[in-house]
Subunit: 341 residues, 2 copies
DNA sequence: CTTGTATGTTAAAACGATTTAGCTTAAATT
DNA sequence: AATTTAAGCTAAATCGTTTTAACATACAAG
C-alpha cells in the first residue's frame, strides 16, 4: 500500500535542488534541457539509492501520455491471438510500454465499449483485431486521428494502417501444391462471414483454381461456426462421395475439427482425401495424427512485432504518419497429407 | 487525440454548479455526500449529453486507486493461463476494472521487474502465477501489505491468499481409477521442479499408491523440460520394457508429448500402456487420438473467478483481509485410455 | 565596455479529478 | 424563542509530475 513513497520532491529536497531539475535529469533527454553531466549523474544516483519510482498517474495527467497501449482482440484464449499478444507484450516491455488486453468475443458492441474504456484509461494507441460489424467504430476512431493499427483483418473501405497475412497467396500456394501432387477436384472449406481475411483466402483459392483451369468448389455458406462438428459430419461425407479429392480449409479450427471428424468416420488422410490446414498455431495438435499434415503457416511473431512498431511510430508522430499496410508472407509446410498416396 | 475534451469543470460551468457537486453526483454513492436526487439526475443527464468521460489519470492521482489490476503469469501463450486470463478479464470488465497482463517466462527476475512496473502503473492489486525462485519477491510483496492473490501455485512457507487445485486429490483419483481398472504397475511421469503444485501431484500419487499397497515408480528427475521429446523417447520404452502398465502425467504438455511419442513408436494406448493425462486445457488435441484419453480436469474458469473476487475483496479491505486459500476440485474424465483392453 | 549567446538552474503554473472543511438555509428539538 | 441538527452545496487544497518562462552567471564577440 505504501509502496511508492519517494516522490520527485523528496529527491529534490535530499539533493538541495529544484524538482524541475530532477524532472529534467530523469527525463529521456536531459541534454535537451542542458543539465550538466555531473548533475545528471548525481541525481540519477540518488534516485537509484532512494528507489525513486515516478508516479505514473501524475506523469500521465500532466503529459497526456501514458506509455500504455491497448490490444483488443476477439478472444485471448484463442492461441493465435494469445501468441500475437505475447509478442506485442514483449515488444512493449522492451520499449517501456505496458499493455492492456481486452476480448470482444466477436461482438461489435463490446469492441466499441472496449475502445471507450481503453481511451478513458488513457492508452496512447490501440492495436485491434476487428470483428464483423466493427466498421463504424473503426472509422470513427480513424476519423478522430487516434493512433491505431489493425491486425489480421482489415476493411477495404477504411483507410487505416494494418498488418495482415497475404491471404490470397496463402491459399494459392495450397492449391498449387495439391495440383502439383496430381489432384484436380479440390474443395475449399470455409464458413459464412464478411471478414476480409477469410474472403481473401477464398479469393486466393478461386484465382489459383482458375489459373489451373479447374472447377471451383467452395463450401462457405453451409457452415455455422457454432456447431462445426455437426456441420462437418454431414458436409465432409457428401463432398467425398461427390468425388472431392482434396480439402483446403480457411481456418485452423475448421481444419482440426475436420480432421477429428474424418478420423471418426474411419477415413484416413491422404488416402481417402488430401488435406491442407490453415495455421493459427496449435499445429502441434496435428502431430497426434499418424500422418504429417500439410498446412499454411502464418508468421505469428511478425504480426505482433510489426503491429507494435507501426503503432509506436504512429503515436510518436501524433497520429500523423502515413497509412501503412503490411502484408506478411505465408509459408506452406508440406507434409504427407497433401501428397498422392 | 482530442478524445476527452469534456472535463468536470466544463460540466460544472454548463450547469452553473461547483465541480465538487459534479464529482459528488458522479460518484458511486452520491447519497453519502447528501446530494439531492434532482441534482443527481440533472448532472448525470448533462454528463451523458456532453459525453463526459472522467480522466483516469487525474482520478487515480488524487485517489490513489486506479481500478486496474495486474495479472502476472508464466506465459500468456500457454492456453491454460490464457483461459484463466480470459476469465479474469471478464470478471474485471463486469466490475469496472481493467487488466494489465505480463509474462515472466518462468524467470524470477522478470517477475520482480513486472511487479515493479505494474506497481508503478498504479495497479490496485496483483494476481500472480509465481515461478520457481519467486519466494523473495512474493514474500516482500506480502510483507508490504499489497493486495495479492497467487494462483495455480503457492509456497508453503509464505502466508498469502491463493487459488490452487487440490493436486493431491487429482493424482489420487487417477491412481484409484487405474487400480479399479485392474492395473498395478503404475508410473508417475513428472519432471524436476520445486513447484508446489507439481510436487503435490507427486504426493497424491505416492499417497494413493501406498494406500493401495503398490510400489511407486516416479520419473521426476530424469526429464528436462526443454527437450521433452527426446527425453520421453528414451524414457517411455524403458518404462514399458520394465513392465509398466499405466502412466500418469503431471502436466498437460508432458502428456501430449508422450502421446505423440508413443504413437510414433508404433505403440497404442491403452493396449501397450494405459494413460491418464493432466489437463491444462487443449484437451481437444486428445480428440485426434483414435482412442478417448482419460484425463484429470481442472476447473479453469473457477481459477479466474475466485482469484479475481478474492483480490477485489482484498483491495477493498485495504490489504487487511484474512488470508484465504481456496482449493479447487479436480475431476477425472474417464475415457478408454485408462481401461483394460 | 557594452551587447549577445550559451549554460545551468529555478519558480510557478498547469493537468483534472477527489476530498476536507466550512458555509448557508431550513427543520427539529428543547 | 433559543439552540441544535441536518440537508445541500461550495471554496480551496491536494495528488506528483511536466513544462513554460525567466533568472542568473560566464564567456565570447563587437
Amino acid at each position: 500500500m505504501k509502496s511508492n513513497k519517494v516522490t520527485i520532491r523528496d529527491l529534490a529536497k535530499a539533493l538541495g535542488v529544484s524538482t524541475t531539475l530532477v524532472s529534467f535529469a530523469m527525463s529521456d533527454s536531459p541534454k535537451k534541457y542542458r543539465v550538466s553531466d555531473e548533475m545528471i549523474a548525481k541525481i540519477r544516483a540518488k534516485a537509484k539509492e532512494m528507489d525513486y519510482q515516478p508516479n505514473n498517474a501524475a506523469r500521465s495527467l500532466r503529459s497526456g501520455k501514458s506509455n500504455t497501449i491497448g490490444v483488443i482482440l476477439s478472444d485471448i484464449s484463442n492461441r493465435f491471438f494469445a501468441d500475437i499478444t505475447r509478442c506485442i507484450e514483449d515488444q512493449a516491455s522492451q520499449n517501456g510500454y505496458t499493455v492492456l488486453v481486452g476480448s470482444t468475443d466477436e461482438k461489435p458492441e463490446r469492441l466499441a465499449n472496449l475502445i471507450k474504456v481503453f481511451q478513458n484509461k488513457g492508452v496512447d494507441g490501440l492495436i485491434i483485431v476487428p470483428c464483423e460489424g466493427a466498421e463504424s467504430s473503426i472509422s470513427e476512431l480513424v476519423a478522430s486521428g487516434f493512433p491505431l493499427v489493425l491486425i489480421d483483418r482489415s476493411f477495404d473501405n477504411i483507410n487505416v494502417s494494418s498488418v495482415t497475412l497475404n491471404n490470397i497467396k496463402a491459399t494459392s500456394l495450397a492449391v498449387n501444391e495439391l495440383v502439383a501432387s496430381g489432384y484436380r477436384k479440390i474443395a475449399f472449406v470455409s464458413y459464412k462471414t464478411s471478414l476480409t481475411n477469410i474472403l481473401d483466402r477464398e479469393m486466393g483459392y478461386r484465382k489459383a483454381m482458375r489459373l489451373n483451369d479447374l472447377k471451383e468448389h467452395i463450401c462457405a455458406n453451409e457452415i455455422d461456426y457454432s456447431s462445426i462438428n455437426n456441420e462437418l459430419l454431414s458436409l465432409l461425407p457428401k463432398l467425398i462421395k461427390q468425388g472431392t479429392e482434396a480439402l483446403i480449409f480457411s481456418t485452423n479450427r475448421l481444419a482440426i475439427e475436420a480432421l477429428i471428424v474424418i478420423q471418426s468416420m474411419g477415413m484416413t488422410v491422404p488416402e481417402d482425401v488430401a488435406f491442407i490446414g490453415f495455421d493459427g498455431s496449435e499445429t502441434f495438435a496435428f502431430n497426434l495424427y499418424p500422418k504429417g499434415i500439410t498446412y499454411i503457416k502464418q508468421p505469428i511473431e511478425q504480426f505482433g512485432y510489426e503491429a507494435f512498431n507501426l503503432l509506436v511510430a504512429n503515436i510518436i508522430a501524433g497520429g500523423k504518419t502515413d497509412i501503412v499496410n503490411i502484408e506478411l508472407n505465408p509459408e506452406l509446410v508440406v507434409k504427407e497429407s497433401s501428397k498422392k498416396s
